[in-house]
């Protein structure tokens, strides 16, 4: 069922990763994504993987949830790695019809798999350990310079946090509406693509209608609670950069340095 998805969930906790400044986490996450796509040899890949593992362990979240978030993308991983496996360059070591496997293909498949998995694990680690409010709060602060060009920073952040809040609610609702239409004999499991898309209409229309009704209600509730935009608002949870964050940045800097050194000195590149 749709609501079993672990990806994007938050698990409250007091681990080191939980206590990092969310701004630091977001910046590190961005740097990390760049660096995993700049790993061109196994030594570099080992360094980034070790870094990933370190953070997963420090997050003190059961590996079960990380596995669950990987389960969702298993097909994407398989598909892209197969694609890479069969479309490598160089001399084939095995060939059948249009499919050929080369050493280069195998390496590429390994790299792409590790990169996607790292990406998912890192983003899971970020959302598992950072509450949606912290996340949007941090984004709001990081984007603050954009206010100079009249970008509605607070509004965008508020919309993001509301969207995150209502994702599980709307997933539950989708489930409920699907069950109700199935109970009226709707056929959602068979037929060609066109028929299947058409079968979604009885689910999508009620979902939209209900989302609009909710939006209206939420707006009323927010007004009742004295909401009047970002001006003059304070936050209960203050975020500060601490020594923890500085140390994390140093570790990440070492990883980046390591990857660069590997790329320069290892005489092999994919």
């Amino acid at each position: 069922m749709v609501r079993d998805v672990a990806f994007g969930q938050y698990f409250p906790g007091k681990s080191l990763v939980h206590r990092l400044d969310p701004r630091a986490k977001i910046l590190m996450f961005i740097a990390y994504i760049v660096i995993i796509f700049c790993t061109f040899n196994y030594a570099a890949l080992a360094i980034t993987s070790a870094f990933t593992a370190l953070f997963l362990i420090l997050s003190e979240i059961s590996p079960k949830f990380y596995f669950k978030s990987l389960k969702v993308i298993i097909f994407i991983v398989l598909f892209t790695s197969l694609l890479n496996l069969f479309y490598g360059s160089g001399d084939p070591i095995w060939q059948w019809w249009v499919f050929k496997i080369t050493y280069n293909g195998i390496h590429r498949a390994v790299f792409v798999t590790v990169r996607i998995i790292s990406l998912i694990l890192a983003s899971s680690c970020l959302t598992f350990t950072t509450s949606p409010t912290e996340l949007t709060d941090a984004i709001e602060r990081l984007m603050r310079p954009l206010k100079l060009i009249r970008f509605p920073v607070h509004e965008v952040a508020m919309m993001m946090s509301l969207a995150l809040r209502f994702v599980p609610t709307l997933l539950e609702e989708t489930d409920k509406i699907m069950q109700a239409q199935k109970a009226r004999g709707a056929d959602m499991e068979s037929g060609n693509l066109f028929k299947r898309v058409k079968a979604l209409i009885p689910v999508l229309i009620p979902l939209f209608v209900s989302a609009f009704r909710r939006a209206y209600d939420v707006a009323t509730a927010m007004e009742c609670r004295c909401y009047r935009g970002g001006a003059g608002r304070t936050r209960m949870k203050q975020i500060h950069m601490t020594r923890r964050d500085v140390i994390s940045f140093i570790v990440l800097a070492l990883v980046i340095g390591g990857v660069i050194l590997c790329n320069i000195f290892v005489n092999w590149s994919i």
Binding site: I177, Q179, A180, A183, R184, P202
Partner: protein
């Protein structure tokens, strides 16, 4: 009487093999006869909703069999959709399922999926609308322009129009005001008495169940706690309270009187019954005219 629905040792386990494993329904067996009006009660989380969704194959039981007219509904899993037309299911707050351009088309969605066409379809839609008290003029309106109560009735009509052998209603009166509740309940009883179909009504409002049900299913912690004639269930008021259910005020008043040695019958469910029971006693005491 012929048995229309039989559950044999039904269980349902959520998240089997994970640390979250939970037995939502635990070894439930019962038989329901054709034309019966069954009330279903249970505290939130007692497993009654899961149980109901197993009756029309929306949820497949982990163990056990659901027999409809003597046949296992999961004998051919590919044909499970045909069971949905035999066991009509109205969910809680069913107005959220409306989607068509007109009320007419929305009510027709179910019977069309069943394969009805032309005059037959028209008749099914109009009869269903009539049972739920929707005026013909409303049928050409958009369902989104109806009032809350009308939406509810349109959604229920959409299930009734499939002419199911068994109609399951999950809290059909939730959120309605007393008058709306009253009207809807009388429409359901009219449907039951005219069509002579089996009806299962899930409700937290015992007063409502007391008025309409022949027998009552009480669920508690996933198990079948009671399946008895209505009066018998309410006679066991203390037991119901233990399952976290709220007995009608009048039932409690009468059982208090009994405990104080006043000779009133057990299991009084309505103000009418209480009034009729008290009248002769008070007359005898010379307290009335």
């Amino acid at each position: 009487m012929s048995c229309v629905l039989e559950l044999k040792n039904i269980s349902f386990v959520y998240g089997k093999g994970t640390p979250f494993e939970k037995r939502a329904v635990d070894n439930v067996s019962f038989k329901i006869n054709k034309g019966e009006f069954i009330g279903v009660m249970g505290h939130t989380g007692s497993g009654k909703s899961t149980l109901m969704q197993m009756l029309n194959g929306l949820i497949r039981p982990s163990e056990g069999q659901v027999l409809l007219d003597g046949k296992d509904i999961w004998a051919e899993p590919k044909k499970i959709r045909s069971v949905r037309f035999k066991v009509g299911m109205v969910f809680q707050y069913p107005e959220y399922q409306l989607f068509e351009e007109t009320v007419y088309k929305d009510i027709a969605f179910g019977p069309q999926n069943k394969g009805l066409e032309g005059d037959e379809l028209d008749k099914a839609v109009r009869e269903a609308a009539d049972f739920t008290g929707l005026k013909p003029a409303l049928l050409e309106k958009s369902p989104f322009d109806l009032s809350g109560g009308e939406k509810r009735r349109a959604a229920i009509a959409g299930v009734i129009a499939m002419d199911p052998e068994i109609l399951v209603l999950d809290e059909p009166t939730a959120g309605l005001d007393p008058m709306g509740r009253e009207v809807l309940l009388s429409q359901i009883t009219r449907y039951h008495s005219e069509r002579r179909n089996t009806v299962l009504l899930v409700s937290h409002t015992m007063e409502d169940i007391a008025r309409v049900a022949d027998r009552i299913i009480v669920m508690n912690k996933g198990k079948l706690a009671m399946l008895e004639p209505t009066a018998e269930v309410f006679r066991r008021g203390d037991e119901l309270a233990r399952y976290g259910l709220k007995v009608p005020q009048i039932t409690k008043i009468m059982s208090e009187l009994r405990k104080k040695g006043i000779d009133v019958p057990e299991g009084v469910l309505t103000v009418d019954d209480a009034f009729r029971a008290l009248l002769p006693l008070l007359k005898k005491g010379g307290k009335l005219w």
